[in-house]
Symmetry: C2
């Protein structure tokens, strides 16, 4: 639950509450009344401050999601510069990526919210996705590609690189999006041990994937 102090303005409380609820239940799964009552303000406040429900949803991405994504990218660059001063190798990039997304500068609840929102947008893109893809995701992908190109063996093509980056994203998003289900299936809680292990797991995957992807081909019926 977001902090709903009375010190915050109602507008801010609505944004926090809305982000949390939209992340948990999706746009259609949340009512304006649920948002305003959880934010302890009047029903009309949403329409007063944001015009309508859909605009509130977009504003959550503009004023909450995007800034956090940029903070994450900054953390990634700092972390990478820390461990690999000049030309980073593929393993270093993978490690910084995994660390940023899975252990980076967020509380665990914030990370879950962040990735749940993105997961929902990837499942059913709206205007919010358009904005986020152009302003945040695509530039970051390009940055990573240029960072990695000189570090990769020639056997790895552009497509292989894309697939691996997408797979990191997919795993990070999914292991956050599907926490409850993963816990139910495996019986494993999202404690520090499990999350550390997840980082290891993803780092290894990306490193192997980046370095030596091709195998002998797949042609079973």
């Amino acid at each position: 639950m977001p902090s709903t102090d009375t010190t915050e303005t109602a507008r801010e409380r609505i944004l926090d509450t809305a982000e949390s609820l939209f992340a948990q239940r999706g746009f259609d799964g949340v009512t304006v009344r649920q948002i305003t009552s959880a934010a302890r303000c009047n029903l009309a406040a949403v329409n007063y401050h944001f015009g309508n429900k859909k605009s509130l949803y977009l504003e959550v991405f503009r004023s909450r999601w995007v800034p956090r994504a940029k903070r994450l990218q900054a953390h990634f660059r700092a972390n990478l510069a820390d461990q690999a001063s000049m030309r980073p190798d593929a393993a270093a990039v993978a490690r910084s990526l995994a660390h940023t997304f899975l252990a980076g500068p967020m509380t665990d609840e914030e990370r879950q919210r962040h990735h749940q929102l993105m997961s929902r947008e990837m499942g059913r893109p709206t205007e919010a996705f358009q904005m986020v893809a152009e302003d945040v995701i695509r530039p970051f992908f390009k940055e990573l590609a240029e960072l990695l190109r000189p570090a990769l063996p020639k056997t790895v093509d552009q497509e292989g690189l894309s697939l691996n980056l997408l797979s990191i994203l997919a795993l990070v998003l999914y292991f956050n999006f599907a926490r409850e289900a993963v816990t139910r299936i495996t019986g494993r809680k999202y404690d520090k041990a499990f999350k550390d292990r997840l980082v290891d797991h993803i780092v290894t995957f990306v490193r192997n994937g980046l370095g030596c992807e091709r195998m002998q081909g797949e042609e079973v019926t």
Copy 2:
């Protein structure tokens, strides 16, 4: 779109249409009116045949999702027996898994529906997930674990195995769940070439992951 012949009974048409719409937009994103009008039947038909909307949703899983999941498991076993007569190695299991989930006995649209439904349930489990987890997913996980145990090096523990199986599941689900977004970000359509490459990619990941997961540990701040 599901086949909405008039030869099918209304009940069947409702189930097909409902599965498709629930997969695309989720339970809250679909109205009973949308379902019945797409299935070309009366509004009251849903309540007549299924009691209420929620029961219809559960029935979609019971009479559509679960049988298809069992067909997939059968396909996996047959495919594995085909390529590895006695004791399958880890790579063979990985190959059969990827092939079953990504190219197996379904049309592409059916596969997308299947995995989208599961993705939504993993993001926000309902009664349907409980049923599916107990009756289908957990037994299959156990089967895979027992199949793999003798084929794995001793360095791989139970947790590593679980993580890799979950990761296959996550990648398969995600690359189906998020097709539209993946296409928008990468500019790549889900044509045969891309899907073949995905199979390769996942097979390699799992094989590497299963065989040699541990690396030198991750302790960047």
